[in-house]
Symmetry: C2
């Protein structure tokens, strides 16, 4: 079984959408990535940091999904990273209400000895210096390194982001971020430019409009499943990344053909994530639901024009 090393936040979120609002609930990129990847046959571990205020039950949830948490540091007397946000009516944009870095401010990731040879490394959205630090600790070159990032780091830590980008195989960003990073409006041109910055594979997430993966002249598209209601988009991108990296780790196949399946799996899992607040839907999801909806993805996209 392949090892999947996941680096990212484990956090508290408070979310407001047109459908309601939550108190402080479980959140964080690594949480969503881990829950999503747990639908695949992989040996995964999270590297992160939380405060002493972080409930044991949340850690137990991760453990119950066979996620190794030796790399989650618990800072005595520290407070867990907290993010609060409010989505607009169209669910495509949001305002950040509160960001309390807390223990994340001094996060110094330590990769557990047993995962320094992980075949797949999923670098969740974090400061690029933290992402680089994880790669520095790997004793065996991973078969695949996937990097997620966001516009915040393009604004505040571009040189460090460009450094870590040189060391990764796949980058996942949204369409606006791809445009910002490349200076190109056309996503085809943007992907070509981002290729030259390091990643051989460029995944562009378009939210309700699906996701594209570019590799040299090849391109593949995974639609988002048309849903009656998007309840809470929080974690959808991370769930997508967890499905992507989890599938690649399970398949032990890093070909472009395999990555096509990986972004379909990622889109499929993300379509569940948005159906409830926070991690609720991912916690209660079973493999039968996942496979039934994959069939919907097939019906949604497969056609039979004879050529």
């Amino acid at each position: 079984m392949s090892k999947l090393l996941i680096v990212g936040t484990v956090a508290f979120d408070a979310i407001e959408t047109p459908f309601g609002k939550t108190d402080k609930i479980l959140g964080g990129a690594a949480t969503y990535i881990g829950l999503s990847a747990s639908f695949f046959n992989v040996d995964s571990a999270i590297v992160s940091v939380v405060g002493e205020d972080f409930p044991q039950e949340h850690l137990d949830l991760l453990t119950s999904r066979n996620i190794n948490i030796d790399g989650i540091e618990i800072v005595k007397g520290g407070k867990t990273f907290f993010w609060s946000g409010k989505y607009h009516n169209d669910m495509n944009s949001r305002d950040t209400l509160v960001t309390e870095l807390n223990v994340l401010a001094d996060f110094n990731p330590v990769v557990p000895q047993n995962y320094k040879d992980a075949e797949v490394v999923m670098l969740g959205n974090l400061h690029p210096i933290v992402q680089s630090s994880v790669l520095n600790q790997m004793t065996v070159k991973p078969k695949l390194v996937v990097l997620d990032t966001m516009n915040f780091w393009m604004d505040c830590a571009l040189p460090e982001l460009l450094d870590v980008m040189k060391r990764v195989d796949v980058i996942t960003i949204n369409d606006e971020e791809a445009r910002q990073l490349s200076g190109e409006y056309s996503l085809v041109k943007a992907a070509a430019k981002i290729h030259t910055m390091g990643p051989k594979y460029v995944v562009i997430k378009k939210g309700e409009h699906g996701a594209l993966i570019f590799h040299n002249k090849d391109v593949f598209f995974a639609p988002a499943l048309p849903l009656e209601e998007v309840f809470d988009p929080t974690g959808a991108g991370d769930t997508f990344a967890g499905g992507f990296s989890g599938y690649i780790a399970q398949s032990e196949d890093t070909s472009f053909e395999s990555m096509k399946n990986a972004i379909i799996h990622g889109s499929n899992l993300a379509s569940f994530c948005v159906e409830k607040f926070g991690t609720e839907r991912m916690e209660n999801l079973n493999k039968e639901d996942v496979y039934a909806r994959l069939q919907q993805f097939k019906s949604l996209t497969q056609f039979d024009i004879k050529l």
Copy 2:
């Protein structure tokens, strides 16, 4: 060979995009629909109206594509419908600079005797009363009636639009129009509501984000081909409609499976239309190019997850 009756404008356009601007060039919904449908094996005819200022060469172009133009009325001393618009930098929005209805203001469509039994009727974007008038003239119930419309008629002629909608099988509108018409933000809910207004098939065009077709609980998605550059979006929606209706007429198959292929063909042809100003690319397109790009649509969307 099936007959395809096309109703819509034949017009002059003057277009400005970030890539340049044109003088008065050939335009109009029926023009784009007809050129697009001419890539299929169908007997098509256009019902429209132009002024005496309309050049014979434009009519000859349509005739050279085996499009019957007996139904294009030439109004003596009249001036042809003229539209001028300017696209914004993102190419997704535009300002209308000039709309001169001219002969269109008194357009009274007359369906040629020989096409009153057309198997497929494609009602291009026009006043819904004009669209209804064409249906009234059909002596044999068509196998499929496709209606294209826009927000302008929702604002100014909603009762008449709702009337004609009851008489059509397929409606094609964009995402914002689907939301306006239904009062639902979710496109799944919007399509369900529009079903109840008449059309059994609801096609929602999302421009660079592709197109969806809904039929009861079934849904199929055709992506837009990711392009390096969109040069001029004018006519893309009509070209899509022409590919859709042309394919259905050729296949003589109005099943949902056939409509899946139809929206792929429509998306494929539209992807060419936007590569040059106005009708230029459609005029110079050959079937080899069309088939080569269909292969790209397959590569873009077909995956192989075993279920």
